[in-house]
């Protein structure tokens, strides 16, 4: 009787709220159309395309060397790995075996990229749930990696270091020394992340049990990367379909089975430790040799379809190239990890409170240009 009275007096109705495209927690120009009832989310509809540049259409016009440079602008935090994906596809089609030196250098830089991406994510994750300090600590560590990249290939973010057949130029003489210095320092700094944020009671309460995604849904939604592994779904391309030098190194695939925001968070922290392990195994054993295999100035792929998947910091990136035997691809498709991960947001956040949505979104680690392409 009393409950009914309260219900009648405080009648609520559903209404729409726009989250983004200018919103600090949407990490770029993503707009979410929320249907809410009070504070409860009833429906989420992402509105995409604010940064769509038709990269796939541009690829049909460009040569294979040019395509590599476009991929920097998709997931700009994994730019090296994106480049690598296209190069691996072209090399697969041309049946080129790149030198061991190239494979090892690519792997080291890919793992440095992963650490850089995860540190940035950790910074903004903290900020999204209200801890400003994380941002500055994260950028302190990330800066060192960017400096290494700058010295090696002249760019800090959009690296353009890979070309079909190998690397654009050799590593800088300081590279090995500086990477080792970074690892020593980061091994000391990374535990700070845990003591500052992971073990913080407020942070735990904001993330534990929030944004649940079950194992079955994770597969059905095709999520990948840390989002999948937070639900216990083993999806690491580096383990399942090894490429470059990943079959030669020892590392664990991190799996947490809780499926909530905290477990996705823990996956990324643990992955940074694993990345350091991979780098340490390789850094003293970079083989001597060439840094590229000569390809024709005009690369023509044989007729057929070629597919290569790699593990970026966000998950599985796939490159599909359909070639008719000319110097331009007939069709290129980038299977972006972000699009599938965002698709699962509805599953995670509907029924929860609006405040939790921000934490859940942060744990997806969305990069909008990667979704929009």
């Amino acid at each position: 009787m009393k409950d009914q009275l309260i219900k009648d007096r405080f009648k609520t109705e559903e209404y729409f709220v726009n989250m983004g495209p200018q919103h600090p927690a949407t990490h770029g120009v993503l707009r979410l159309i929320l249907t809410i009832d009070g504070e409860i989310i009833k429906n989420i509809e992402p509105d995409l395309g604010y940064i769509h540049r038709s990269i796939e259409k541009m690829c049909e016009r460009d040569s294979y060397q040019q395509i590599v440079h476009l991929t920097d602008r998709m997931d700009y935090l994994s730019s090296h790995i994106n480049n690598e994906a296209v190069c691996l596809t072209v090399e697969k089609a041309l049946e080129i075996e790149v030198p061991e030196r190239v494979k090892v250098i690519r792997t080291i830089i890919a793992e440095l990229t992963r650490i850089a991406s995860h540190t940035l994510w950790w910074g903004v994750m903290g900020m999204d749930v209200g801890a400003l300090t994380t941002y500055f600590l994260a950028f302190r560590d990330r800066e060192m990696i960017n400096d290494i990249f700058e010295e090696t290939c002249g760019a800090r973010l959009t690296m353009n270091y890979n070309i079909p057949g190998g690397l654009m130029f050799d590593i800088h003489p300081n590279f090995v020394k500086r990477v080792k210095e970074f690892i020593v320092l980061f091994r000391k700094n990374l535990p700070e992340y845990d003591s500052l944020l992971t073990n913080n009671v407020i942070f735990q309460k904001r993330t534990k049990g929030v944004g649940f995604l079950s194992y079955e849904d994770a597969i059905s939604y095709g999520v990948s990367g840390p989002v999948a592994r937070g639900s216990g779904y083993s999806s690491d391309v580096r383990k399942i379909h090894p490429y470059s030098a990943y079959d030669k190194v020892n590392f664990e695939e991190i799996l947490f089975t809780e499926g909530d925001t905290l477990s996705r968070y823990k996956v990324r922290i643990a992955e940074m430790w694993e990345s350091m392990k991979i780098i340490e195994q390789l850094i003293d054993h970079i083989p001597e040799g060439d840094i590229k295999v000569a390809t024709n100035a005009v690369i023509k792929l044989p007729k057929g379809e070629f597919y290569q998947k790699v593990e970026t910091a966000r998950g599985e990136l796939g490159v599909y190239i359909n070639s008719t035997g000319t110097k331009n691809p007939y069709r290129v498709k980038f299977r972006s990890p972000g699009l599938s991960n965002l698709n699962a947001l509805k599953q995670m956040a509907v029924g929860a409170k609006i405040g939790d949505l921000v934490a859940t979104m942060a744990s997806l680690d969305i990069v909008v240009p990667d979704i929009d392409r």
Binding site: E45, L48, G49, H52, S54, E56, K57, R61, D217, I219, S220, Y221, G222, V223, Y233, S234, I240, P302, K303, G304, E305, F306, Y307, K309, E316, G318, Y320, N322, R331, K333, R335, L339, S340, L342, N343, A344, Q347, D372
Partner: protein, 153 residues
């Protein structure tokens, strides 16, 4: 299962399938659009096949025909294959949606509708994903012309 074993197993499900011999590392199966949904459901339900992960879905314009390509993988067995479907109807291309089988198809089908104009029946919310609703034409079709925004070399 390797490609040969996959081929033999899948041939027992549906006898009208065409196994195309294209240069590809995967087994390619061409299915008619009437059989698409039932084949996909069986590929996922069959315990020996268990294709539960749709890892890439893309549209393609073959010139005369429009097609959709499904890249499938089994999480349990880790084998992969490709299902293709084509239609000659460029005015009103329609396929069955597979969102009830793989939820990840939802955004992918919206993307294909956006870029190729392929419609999917039973899709929960089919509309343009990236472009504005009033956009004219479907940009990834080969006959698309946009003199303002396209640079043609």
């Amino acid at each position: 299962m390797n490609n040969e074993e996959l081929k033999n197993t899948i041939a027992t499900i549906n006898s009208n399938l065409e196994f195309t011999e294209e240069a590809s590392e995967f087994l390619n199966v061409l299915v008619s659009k009437e059989d698409l949904h039932s084949l996909c459901a069986q590929l996922k339900a069959d315990e020996n096949l268990a294709f539960d992960y749709l890892f890439c879905m893309t549209g393609i314009d073959y010139g005369k025909e429009l097609g959709v390509i499904y890249h499938l993988e089994s999480v349990k067995h880790r084998h992969q294959m490709v299902v293709k479907v084509k239609t000659n109807d460029r005015e009103n291309p329609v396929f069955d949606s597979v969102t009830d089988i793989w939820k990840t198809a939802e955004f992918n089908e919206m993307e294909i509708f956006d870029f190729f104009g392929v419609k999917f029946t039973n899709h929960p919310n089919l509309k343009r994903l990236f472009l504005t609703p009033e956009w004219n034409g479907f940009p990834l079709r080969k006959d698309y012309v946009d003199e303002e925004n396209m640079v043609i070399k």
